[in-house]
Amino acid sequence: MYKSTNLDLFSYPFQTIKEGTNYRYSNDLRKLEKGQQDCVVITPEYKKQIIRKRELLKEQPDVRFQSYPHTMEMQWEVAEMLITMAVERYPEHFQVEKNGNHWTFHNFILNETESFILGDASSIELEPLDLIGRHFATDFVLMVHRDDNLYLEVAQESYAALFSPHWNKGMSFDEIHGPVPFVSRTGVPLAERVRNFLLRNVLPGEPWTRINWNLMANRWDVNYETLDTWGPTRSLVTPENAGKLVRLRVEEQFFYRMPRSNAILFVLNTQFLPMEDLALRPAWLEQTYSILSDIPKPMADYKGFTPFIEPTVEYLKNLVEKVKLQTN
């Protein structure tokens, strides 16, 4: 288990919510500004996350990575994009040597080198996105545009929140979001609205982002496959231990239209902050307390934190008072 230690890099999810108002579902997608379209971020937790990600991929390959055989070309396209982003943003950490299609990618943080022939899957032991994805702490989902919908054709993930590459393989955007219970004011299901928005607005060179959040009890990833294990731990939370056991789970999502395949790449950067660490930013603490104490039950049910929301709110209430006493 790891947590975010550099809070300047933590994507606090309620930043854009006005003071005094509370969180409700909406289409909160935001276009990324030119010059800030990169999804590669190196945090102090980078090494820890990569080690854990690779362990999970090694132990449960069928759970953590899924693809169709026809996706090689589009996987190469993504691999090329990720390498380019990494090298441009962090030249001190990553480097690439190109000799025609013969590429050598250096990762100086891990002291590793990957050599391959770009576009030739036989030159590597893993699939292209599985190989290059193991150098980045984010999860990757490649959704292909067919029949006015998006279909999951490749996914590598290690921090699932009620999602599974194995189960969701081949599903449309609507099927994956089948469990989302919300409809818009005009009666259109939220998932359908977001899907149409992505299809129309995520264009080559115009990536978008949004922040998704949840609460997790004592758990790194809550996938379907381990529901029997983590399900019961949700009832262990008390107002005394919530500070350590409950984490704000933030998923910073990036959406890129791949120019050659026309697929949309979803990049998911998952970060965790234990409730007790909210005290390091009193404004975040107060706002999170306010939002969680007013969360509608259907939303808590959907997000899966109903079993421990009460003790968590109780803990935050006490923490808010404690922090106020210390600052007065």
Binding site: Y151, W167, G170, M171, G178, P307
Partner: protein
């Protein structure tokens, strides 16, 4: 078949209680693999009543099943397919039709007898048949308790089976 091709499952849109005439189609192709006593074909043909060109194929042996793809392949655009069969036979004919290029909207399927329903264990990825009304079950392969959810995967050919620990089910 591609991964997002329709498959026959108990809630498929293709499944109907009785056939309806599609006026927008040029030809109606009826494939029946059930005995005449249980057949819903006769009243349907009465409904068509010369309004449309139709072809009736009655299948009663294995040999005809082997030739079904050939029959479906030679159909022209604008053909509406009607399948009347027991579950397993309906599955074979439906799959052959999809392979021949029919869309689900171009097929109506009437099932004689029980429909089959499957659950996919998310613990061990085993697929097994369950009763129509079952809401939870035990995985035959890994013995875990499974809650049967409402979501179906065409790729895995079953409903989602959430693994749970029966010792920790909230009493509410």
């Amino acid at each position: 078949m591609v991964y997002n091709s329709p498959v026959l499952f108990d809630q498929s849109e293709t499944i109907v209680e009785s056939f309806t005439v599609r006026q927008d189609r040029r030809k109606l192709l009826i494939i029946s693999a059930v005995s005449k006593d249980t057949d819903i074909i006769k009243p349907f043909i009465y409904d068509i009543n010369g309004l449309k060109e139709y072809e009736l194929i009655e299948m009663n042996d294995e040999l005809q099943f082997e030739n079904i793809s050939e029959i479906l392949d030679r159909q022209k655009m604008g053909t509406q397919l009607y399948i009347s069969a027991k579950w397993d036979d309906a599955g074979k004919i439906f799959t052959a039709a999809i392979e021949a290029g029919f869309s689900e909207d171009e097929i109506q399927t009437h099932i004689s007898g029980e429909k089959r329903r499957y659950v996919y264990c998310l613990k061990c990825y085993h697929l097994q048949e369950v009763e129509a009304e079952e809401t939870d079950t035990i995985c035959h392969h890994c013995q875990i308790s499974l809650e049967i959810g409402p979501f179906f995967s065409r790729e895995r050919k079953g409903y989602i089976g959430y693994p749970y620990n029966p010792a920790f089910v909230p009493t509410t």
